[in-house]
Amino acid sequence: MSRRPAGSRLLLGLMFGAAACAAAQTGPAPALRWGGDAEGGAPFVEADPADPSKVRGFDVEVAETIARGLGREPRFVQVAFSSIDASVARGDFDIGLSGVEDTPARRAMLAATMPYFEFREVLAVRQADAGNYRGLSDLLGRRVGTLGGTIAYDILLAGRERHGYLPVSYDDDVHPYSDLAAGRLDAVLLDHIIAARSLKRVPGLVVEPDPVATGHYIGVLAKENTRLRDRVNEVLAAAMRDGTLERIYRRWDIWDASQAAFFQASLSTLSRNPADAGSLAVSSSRWASAIRYVPSLLRAALITLLLSCAAMALAVLLGIGIAAGRIYGPGAARALLTGYVELVRGTPVLLQLFVLYYGLSSVVRLPAFAAALLGLGLNYAAYESEIYRGALEAVSRVQLEAARTLGFSEWLILRLVRGPQAFRLALAPMTNDFVALLKDSSLVSVITVVELTKQTSIFATNIGSWVLPGILCAAIYLAMSLPLSRLARRLERRWSATA
């Protein structure tokens, strides 16, 4: 159920893609293709340190158990955690298994196996706060982080009004804990397996003993694949009964008394009621949840708009300064500013955001929104400065000379002659840049700002479909950007006539 920060993802994909190809050539038996995210890490699924082309973890062994029970060969397919549902639905593999949480939406959209593991949502806090935040109700005014698109995030959202804390969503399950240690968060709510693992990695944290909730991991198959699902359930139930699963969990040190109780309970429930959630309620509930999400999408759109406007304002001010410095400044300042522009334009904005938010956190601990604003503003300032520089250079030199012979100072020439004309030339490209910024602002979700795209992806994960959220999200972006594009075109026409 977890993801590591972006980075090694591509490498992993290539590695396992190659491994899968190799397996396809050699394996004559009908393979059981199972999808998981090796970035989730131990104990779920991770690349085997001894042989990085293989994976290991308790989910890997569960998959092997299922394959064995079906008389098939297991074959691992690497897939991004957030894409498991969509990938299995379109037939990329037979079954998805990677700490996949049991949610009503998932059950409505896919064929879900019986739960095979029970996890507890637990709060991790700094050692100094141990005992202070025993439950969500103790977190009034505090910042609580978790992985977006999970049950834990839904729990945080649902309790926000009642308990008065601020939920902070992350794209991975590593940074919430490092931010907790750094003081950016006051608590992290996540599965106890992830919490236990993170406590080993990040010193100075403890887990509060009382779980906030419990949840289950399930396997997911395509909706129509119920026959295979039923056979998988038989295999899982047998593995619960005969101790196979217990042995696996003990090996990965995730077995405890509550797991035994869960096994008992689920075996007895299974015998009584093996059915899925009814598919009758599906379409109506999806529409209902879509409507439920509209206000939060609009709120997120407001964040996008606010962030874009503020970042653009910063970019314009800095951009003017940089452009003026590069035209009028002394040699050293010119070289410095040129260096800045080249550095910013030559590196990905994603990297700049990471460095600003995480990389510099030991020096200056910026709040996420401030880091996003600063990151986008500093990045776009480089591009704006090039527009302004070009526009300033485009004002004919002889006009500037004429102004000088009339006795204007350099400053007055810039303000009265050069600036106003450059501004007209720059206006259309600036507007275009603003539209680009509006869309680039979606990148700041990597530093926990929930803006429109992020909210849409949370929405999509929760209802198990991208169709409606995607359409709504696109419509909102277009509603913001189309008028601006039109404005840019009109300005371009108007000023090209005057200049």
């Binding site: 004919s396 012979t405 006795g407 004309q421």
Partner: protein, 253 residues
């Protein structure tokens, strides 16, 4: 006669080439002097050096008591007195594209001299009227014909009331009728006591309206005298200038 402009031994190199090789000339108040020569003879460069748009290597330029010497161009604040003494009308007019004709004319009096806006605009309107373009006051430069734009540019320079007015190729964009009326304008300005130095290669225009002609050739003053010397040229450079006129009507743009 008081010398308004005095240039002595002006030498100026650009990109390793000596454009002006030690020219000396003077313009008194109340005189229209034509600085003549073929393209590349250094006319424009001499004008630009006079209004401190160009640094020069040796020599001295004095405008109504304000002296420029060889070396880098002084800062604009040190040039402030010069700006009040010498106005320049560029060949391309160089009007501020984003301002109307009247705004072009009134901008410097308001911003540089600190005159009240209403008064500056009033004076600007009178200037535009006197130059025959009062009806174009609210037009933008792109909407003006070449002749109109030139008159607005003259008005802009005169709005600062400089005793010395420099003009670069003023007849280049004018038809013959317009050239005549421009000439009359210049004569009127000289009667007000201003000195005018007109860079041109238009021998007809110089014969008709200049009080004195100065022939530049290859960076030196080749010949100097009353306009009548154009009728009986002695120097080869002057003859070349006249020959040029015969082969091609000087309607440079």
């Amino acid at each position: 006669m008081t010398e308004l402009l005095q240039i002595e031994g002006l030498r100026l190199s650009r990109a390793g080439r000596e454009v002006l090789k030690g020219i000396s000339l003077s313009v008194p108040r109340g005189q229209v002097a034509a600085l003549m020569g073929l393209s590349g003879s250094g006319k424009t460069t001499a004008l630009r050096a006079t209004v401190a748009l160009e640094a020069f290597d040796a020599g001295r330029i004095e405008v109504d008591g304000f002296a420029l010497s060889a070396g880098p161009v002084p800062t604009e604040s040190r040039l402030a007195p010069l700006r009040r003494k010498a106005g320049m009308v560029f060949q391309s007019h160089a009007l501020f594209e984003h301002l109307t004709a009247i705004e072009n004319v009134a901008l410097a009096p308001i911003r540089v001299l600190g005159q009240p806006e209403a008064e500056s605009r009033e004076r600007g309107s009178l200037l535009l009227d006197s130059l025959g373009v009062g009806h174009r006051a609210t037009a933008y430069p792109r909407e003006l014909s070449g002749g109109e734009a030139q008159r607005v540019a003259i008005a802009r320079a005169l709005a600062m009331d400089p005793p010395l007015l420099l003009m670069d190729e003023p007849t280049a964009s004018l038809d013959p009728a317009r050239r005549g009326s421009l000439g009359e304008t210049l004569e009127a300005l000289s009667r007000e006591g201003r000195g005018l130095l007109i860079a041109t290669h238009d021998t007809d225009f110089a014969s008709d309206f200049a009080d004195r002609v100065i022939i530049l050739a290859e960076g030196v003053v080749a010949e100097e005298g009353p306009p009548s010397l154009l009728a009986s040229p002695t120097h080869p450079a002057t003859r070349a200038l006249l020959d040029y006129r015969k082969t091609e009507r000087p309607h440079r743009t």
